[in-house]
Symmetry: C2
Subunit: 332 residues, 2 copies
């Protein structure tokens, strides 16, 4: 399904396909129609990126160990999507993938493009909160350009949360659940958060930036101890590291599958509810004006949380509530 | 109320205050604490911008005729605002002031900042339509950062339309009216349009860009003849040119006054209705699915147009309708 492989991707492909033998610089250069100097430069780039590549001036190159970093050419190898991730912009380190994606979206970058970074220096949560994003996690932002009104933009958060929870369950087998509106929990601790931002006219979304952060392959003590009852990482929960490249590939594929149902939001909601942590629980809503305790009973078609308070069902939108589950304390 | 005047503004101020005599380079340089070369450079800049300034190496400089362009230092002279227009970014020519303002807003430019251009090369109307923006008009975009939800962003269009209609009436005495949602008419022809765009989280507006275009000082035949029954210019209607600097100053002051009532939207709506072209008229709503004819009876508190159709009042949001007045044909 891939649209095109550029030369860098082809070099990597050839190295992967020929791990049992040496590929000479000449062979690579002939196959790809580029100079041997170009090949040599790219090999060095891969080494810097953490790949172990044996080489000998006489016999050529051989890939020993792939690096588990998130190079676009690595993610796009065998990526089975049509839109999401067909363009990937990679940073070793960045302030915020959402901010970078916003700028790129404004400059016209197409739907499906993904900004990914090994590390965010100023990762953002909702309402300007900090979001800790160390090495070993997945920090990416996806540009979507659906033809919808701004009032429907909330669907993007549903799409992302569903895609993340499914990917985590598929690759790590932990019992991940979605805490409305935008967190993924394992047990009752946060492993992932979503920040959706948009650029829009009053009548029409120009772009959505769906930022996703997943605490994947790093130990719990990366976080301050004061947070250990609120957050966790997949690695901490399972003791196993997951290939980050495979995780990102699976995630992008899930996003695409769910995104295709954007206009059948009922379908998305139905699946979403199966993974909900929030529904059926007693929740506390603090909407600045008042504090309300009630049972979260359902999600409305417009994405609002329906809470039964004194036998009356009330609607709450993400912006109005900070949501506390009775069983434990956790920020949202 | 002005917060600060930079040196360039001070030079212009001194020239204005001393139009009856020559100001020597030395005097200017002493008063402002800058070199005579700096003074000389700025005088040249003003001349290039269209100011007629007499000079003599012996006796100094004297302002003969101010230029009617929109230099920030000219607009900010005697501008009576606290927020709107305290920072002005000026372009002789630009693709789109809204696009420039968006980029600046994203880089953190503060509330009230204004991007203004003598001419837009790719002015934008709603939903990507073209917006003709030749020399002699007013083309500006204002950055607002209210603490509101995206659903309330529509208020910005009400604020801008009210400010524009009041400014036109004040300075030209034509009977301008507001055609819902975002045009200003004289007679039944468009003299001004508004394009509001936003950057937002799902719960909170980050910035609003309120783009305004006003056909002020240029003749009607700037437009293609096919449009002459749909558009007009203040100059065509009155035969008089208005100082563009004064127009912008008055406009920014009106915007600020109306913007201060953002949280009392009822007040804004009340005034807005007094200038409405649409209310009380039979309108045709075309919302892709169906064509509805009814009487526009009121504006709802959320900014929707209320239309009485077969004795039932229905709500229409700007995105859903193209609106046709029975008396004439006009795009919106």
């Amino acid at each position: 399904m891939k649209k095109s492989l550029d030369r860098r991707e082809k070099v990597l492909d050839l190295l992967y396909q020929n791990q049992d033998r040496y590929l000479s610089g000449e062979e690579l250069s002939n196959k790809l129609g580029v100079s041997r100097t170009s090949i040599w430069k790219y090999i060095n780039y891969l080494r810097e990126a953490g790949y172990q590549i044996e080489s000998s001036s006489k016999i050529g190159y051989r890939l020993i160990t792939p690096a588990d970093n998130l190079l676009p050419e690595e993610i796009k190898r065998n990526l089975n999507t049509e839109i999401i991730g067909q363009e990937i912009i990679y940073y070793k380190e960045i302030e915020s993938t959402n901010d970078a994606a916003k700028k790129l979206a404004q400059s016209g970058l197409q739907e499906g493009a993904v900004v990914i970074a090994e590390e965010q220096k100023r990762g953002k949560g909702r309402l300007g909160r900090e979001f800790c994003s160390p090495l070993g996690g997945i920090w990416l932002s996806c540009i979507l350009r659906p033809d919808i009104k701004p009032t429907l933009a909330t669907r993007a958060t549903y799409i992302a949360s569903l895609a993340i929870v499914k990917t985590i369950r598929k690759l790590s087998a932990v019992d991940a659940k979605i805490k409305w509106p935008n967190d993924i929990l394992v047990g009752n601790k946060k492993v992932s958060g979503i920040l959706t931002e948009m650029g829009a006219e009053l009548d029409k979304v120009d772009y959505l930036i769906v930022g996703m952060g997943i605490n994947l392959n790093f130990p719990l003590d990366t976080f301050d101890e004061s947070l250990h009852n609120k957050v966790t990482t997949i690695y901490h929960e399972t003791g196993k590291k997951i290939s980050r490249v495979k995780f990102v590939q699976a995630l992008l594929e899930e996003i695409e599958m769910v995104y295709k149902k954007l206009y059948d939001f009922k379908d998305i909601l139905k699946e979403w509810k199966a993974y909900s942590y929030t529904l059926g629980k007693v929740v506390k809503i603090d909407n600045k004006k008042e504090e309300i305790v009630g049972e979260a009973v359902d999600i409305a078609e417009d994405g609002a949380l329906l809470v039964k308070v004194d036998d009356k069902v009330r609607k709450f939108y993400s912006g109005e509530v900070s949501l506390y589950h009775q069983s434990f304390n956790s920020g949202n």
